[in-house]
């Protein structure tokens, strides 16, 4: 679900080409997100997991999948190793 949330934001709000995400080697830098885009993207997750993810400036140096794994690890660390339900109220 984490991956879908971020991809949906990047495709629907930032107009990124959906086919970009077919590349397993996709780099975050290739998405050409500025600092505001990055914090806005992270907020899509933070709003669901209830805490602020640390230091967004490190993500542009990562691969896309590496970033997803890093975010998931941060969420698990905050939840005793569990990945909580990331649906917002009203979402099925």
């Amino acid at each position: 679900m984490l991956e879908e949330i971020i991809k949906n934001y990047l495709i629907n709000t930032k107009g990124k080409d959906a086919s970009l995400f077919n590349d397993p080697q996709l780099q975050v830098a290739a998405l050409e997100l500025d600092s505001l885009d990055m914090v806005e993207m992270l907020f899509e997750i933070e709003d669901r997991c209830g805490f602020q993810l640390p230091d967004p400036t490190r993500y542009p140096k990562m691969g896309f999948r590496e970033m997803l794994a890093d975010i998931e690890a941060a969420i698990r660390e905050h939840n005793n190793g569990e990945l909580p339900d990331l649906r917002l109220e009203g979402e099925q």
């Binding site: 709000t13 107009g15 505001l36 914090v39 806005e40 992270l42 907020f43 209830g50 805490f51 602020q52």
Partner: protein, 418 residues
């Protein structure tokens, strides 16, 4: 000095989603005032509003969905004005093209949403973190958000200035853009007024000031009654309006016809009271605007009054207009308060009323003070009661904006070519 021409106009208002629609409804005497939605009415059952005729985000590209509602109104109005003026993004003289915006309260929807989210999270029994806010909250609520969005949308590198002068905000923005072009600092400007604060928080504050109209017994829509004996205050509206100003040389070089010449601007401060107006300084603003234009009072055929329908405001403005233009017996001036129909758009009111006045000049049809049934004897001028007047020869118009805080602005425009 350079002549300053109006080459484009636009509006999204309670009367219509564009300027021609808004003007047509104004001529029809349509009052776009109604009850508040449930989330406001549950606290303020008698409060009345004039919401925009169309949701602004539906008229914009999806990338503008994250802007505050006020900025969205600005973008819609600017888009219509730039299209009318045949101006596309990235003009060759971008550094000589400025953005001037008037807004009273920036980002009211964002601020209300922020506190609403905070309160909801506090009451969620730990399910949500009250500290987490959208990272674009500040860029959305800053007063110059609309100016920034417009300058980026059109690639305009001249100054992008925002004027916050309460009800005179966008009239001042027009006047300052006029001076910048006339005095040679710029060759063109897009001027916008916008306001969007029909939110629970804003309306609680306005209600506390006790200046809001009470529901009219016969017809809620006719509750804003400027210059009437039974007036009870104004109705808050929302929307935006815009004009493109260009030097005559720039417009001529690209063979762009003008909708009129902006030729006079006067401004003053009462320096007396936060909300009670002063006739002397209103008179001074109007006289400055006439002098600036090189016109006599008799040269103006139509005046769009500030006309808020407050007890003091209407009487003082009548006195001021009478001082400048003479009594009804000695003047041919026709006056109306279109706030009777579109409500008070605060920061956007000056420019909306100015573009309606320019439309009146060019069409010869004068919008009425639609709800003026029994005039206050102290408001004894020709306020075009109830129905529009057609077939009028209008060579020049004036528009007044008098703000809380004591700031006054008057604008004069005339036909071009004369």
């Amino acid at each position: 000095m350079t002549k300053v021409l109006i080459t484009g106009m636009g509006a999204i208002s309670p009367l219509g989603a564009d300027l021609p629609g808004s003007f047509a409804q104004a001529l029809a005497g349509h009052c776009a005032i109604g009850p508040a939605p449930a989330d406001i009415a549950k606290w303020l059952p008698d409060i009345l509003l004039a919401p925009a005729a169309s949701e602004p985000h539906t008229l914009l590209d999806s990338k503008h969905a994250s802007l505050d509602r006020a900025s969205q109104f600005a973008m819609v109005a600017a888009g219509e004005a730039m299209t009318t003026a045949n101006i596309t993004p990235q003009p060759a003289d971008a550094r000589r093209f400025g953005v001037f915006v008037g807004i009273g309260f920036g980002g009211a929807h964002t601020v209300d949403g922020l506190y609403s989210r905070f309160q909801s999270a506090v009451q969620s029994e730990g399910k949500r973190n009250p500290v987490l806010m959208h990272p674009l909250s500040v860029p959305r609520m800053m007063a110059n958000a609309a100016a920034a969005a417009i300058s980026m949308r059109y690639g305009l590198n001249g100054p992008s200035n925002t004027y916050s002068v309460a009800c005179a905000s966008s009239a001042i923005a027009i006047g300052e853009a006029f001076r910048a072009i006339r005095d040679g600092y710029l060759d063109a400007a897009i001027v916008v007024g916008c306001e969007a604060m029909l939110t629970p928080g804003s309306l609680l504050a306005w209600n506390a000031l006790r200046v809001m109209a009470k529901p009219h017994a016969d017809d809620l829509a006719r509750s804003c009654r400027p210059f009437s004996q039974d007036r009870s205050g104004f109705v808050l509206g929302e929307g935006g309006a815009a004009i493109v100003l260009e030097s005559a040389a720039r417009a001529s070089a690209r063979q762009q016809p003008a909708l009129g010449e902006l030729c006079g601007y006067g401004c003053s401060s009462d320096a007396a009271h936060l909300t009670a107006p002063s006739s002397a300084e209103q008179v001074y603003a109007m006289q400055q605007a006439l002098d600036d234009a090189g016109l006599q009072p008799a040269d103006i055929q139509y005046l769009n009054a500030h006309g808020t329908a407050t007890e003091t405001g209407d009487v003082v403005e009548t006195e001021s207009i009478r001082t400048v233009f003479g009594s009804r017996e000695h003047s041919q001036l026709a006056i109306s308060s279109t706030k009777s129909m579109h409500g008070h758009l605060i920061g956007a009111s000056g420019i909306l009323e100015f573009v309606l006045a320019v439309m009146a000049m060019n069409s010869g049809s004068l919008p009425p003070t639609a709800t003026l049934e029994v005039p206050d004897p102290r408001c004894d001028l020709d306020f075009i009661p109830q129905t529009a007047r057609h077939g009028c020869q209008v060579d020049a118009i004036m528009s007044n904006s008098f703000a809380f805080g004591g700031s006054n602005a008057s604008l004069v425009a005339r036909r071009y070519p004369q």
